[in-house]
Amino acid sequence: MVALARKTLVYEWRRFLPAMLAVGFAGLLQLLQIALVLGIFGSTSLYVTGSSADLWVGYPGTQSVGLGRSIDADVQSRLLMDPQVQRIEPYLWVDGDWRGPRETGGVSVFVSGIDPAADGLMFSKVLPLALRARLAEPDAIIIDRSALGQLGIDIGQSATINGQRVRVAGVSSGLRALGGVNVLCSLDTARRLDNDTTDNGPTYLVASLRDPAQADAVAARLRGATSFGPYTTWSARDFAQRSVRYWLFDTGAGAGVMFLAGIVFLVGAAITSQTLIAAVNGSIREYATLNALGVGVGALRKVVLEQAFWVGFLGLLGASALGIVLLLLARSQDVPVVLNAPAALACIALVMGLAAVSGLAAMRSLRRADPATLLR
């Protein structure tokens, strides 16, 4: 079979270049947007994804990690009764008001009181062991490197949170928060910083399981007991998604992403279809001749659709290469970008869908390939 679609694409690549660029940039734009949104809003589930706990226990109805209420510490004994539960530790969330050595105005901080033990679950994936050990010192806190300027402080200096003295014992990366600054400290320090008298237990209890794959089942069977006061359980994956979803949809960011996806799709499809239509029109007499010789309209449509596919594929290839470079660049600059498989697949689907719609639009102009017009 003579590969008409591919040979034409290679021979007349200049003609198809605008379509490939349109598809490529549409894909790139969408890719970066999704990566940024996931990166920014992914930080709202950092507390879950950066930790190695499989099970989260918190106040019923909690919509996001930062919106928890304290639960009864005795829930721990209920959890320990489950044979799957391996290790439990409390996690204390305190909203704080920061006053640094330099004038910064009010800065709200999210204090995370964690177990500083070397085998602690909380933030085990983002906090190096040496740094973690420093949290055992009284009043020690750890913040993200990028927050130093925001808090007006340097390593080793002291400041106050909720009127209590704290000292920056170290900085780490990957601890960025949304709408404030994450402050990590020991549970003891956190309790001292918490000036809310109604808090009399941890905000969460987190647990590791003997078989992490059982998280959903364990979470389900530990739910519903009321003898220890109100609490509920989630698997870590559920709770992380819950947090991200809350931010995506409650802030309208999700709608923004969809809106931009729609715009990108329309603009990309408009340019791509016009280019493909021009390419079809440029060969309309040749297509008509093939039809005169008995090659069916269906076969000609396939050629156009195949061209659209290749344009989409090559555009995608360019977008992927450029996208990876840009994402790496963003990472190196501490810009929060995250790309997961579903998001990448969504981008691929968007781009190939765009190419397909453009191909279908271009197919319509094949109707002008009427061989009778070749006879004058």
Partner: protein, 253 residues
């Protein structure tokens, strides 16, 4: 159907390859209606080079489009080989053209990206031939029009005459019973025009193909087996070349 007497009962031994019976065709542009063909009847014999000549606008191209099934008639009937073209739907017409017809147009209409060999091979792919068979036939066909040494060149590397020979090879490789040519020489100089005429004539006689050629090129007239002169949608004259001279298969010395 076979009881129907042919419109031109010149050669009663063979049924005509193409037959138009009282066909009419008009076009509407704006409020103006132009009747191009009005009740025209005509038979084209098999294995001959028939030339329809006449001034532009006389309806000869419309007649070609109708006889080849590219256009529908307003009234009347068209028989091609054993098919009533008016009774075939779009798909069946494509099928008919795929199996039985070849076309050569004034413009060569070659894909710029394909080599001569690929241009010829492309329609064969759609005829259900195997890859090797298609390539084999394409080569043969290009050899027959004298382009064997240039079969790997693209249209941009070929002269006008060579391009038209590729177009002829593309039609010929299908081994059609009917070959339609619309002004095949008018874009070519005298020498190249002559080559094209010779090839078309040879195809009619050596392959038994019915070649119907529409042209106002006077150079073609002496090479045709039969010349129909057309004007204002009517056949004015129907002349045959003196049979014994042309029918001789021996090369003229």
């Amino acid at each position: 159907m076979s009881a129907m007497p042919p419109a031109h009962a010149i050669e009663p031994t063979r049924p005509p390859a193409l037959q138009a019976i009282a066909v009419s065709k008009g076009f509407v542009s704006g409020r103006q209606r132009t009747q191009v063909l009005d009740g025209l009847s005509l038979s084209i014999e098999a294995a001959e080079l028939t030339l329809i000549s006449g001034p532009s606008g006389c309806g000869k191209s419309t007649l070609l489009a109708i006889l080849s099934g590219l256009q529908q008639v307003d009234s009347g009937r068209v028989r091609a080989l054993d098919s009533e073209l008016g009774q075939l739907d779009l798909h069946a017409l494509e099928r008919f053209r795929l199996e039985h017809t070849g076309f050569v147009f004034q413009g060569f209409n070659l894909f710029p990206a394909l080599s001569a060999l690929e241009q010829v091979e492309l329609p064969l792919n759609h005829m259900g031939l195997s890859r090797n068979e298609a390539r084999q036939r394409a080569r043969q066909s290009l050899e027959e029009v004298g382009l064997a040494p240039r079969m790997h060149l693209r249209p941009s590397e070929l002269s006008g005459g060579e391009k038209q020979r590729v177009a002829i090879a593309r039609a010929l490789a299908k081994e059609p019973q009917l070959l339609f040519a619309d002004e095949p020489t008018s874009a070519l100089d005298a020498a190249n025009g002559q080559i094209i005429i010779d090839i078309l004539h040879r195809i009619a006689h050596s392959h038994g193909t019915t070649v119907l050629c529409v042209s106002h090129d006077p150079r073609l007239v002496v090479h045709a087996d039969r010349v129909l002169a057309m004007e204002d949608g009517r056949i004015l004259s129907d002349r045959r070349a003196p049979a014994p001279v042309i029918d001789s298969k021996r090369a003229p010395s």
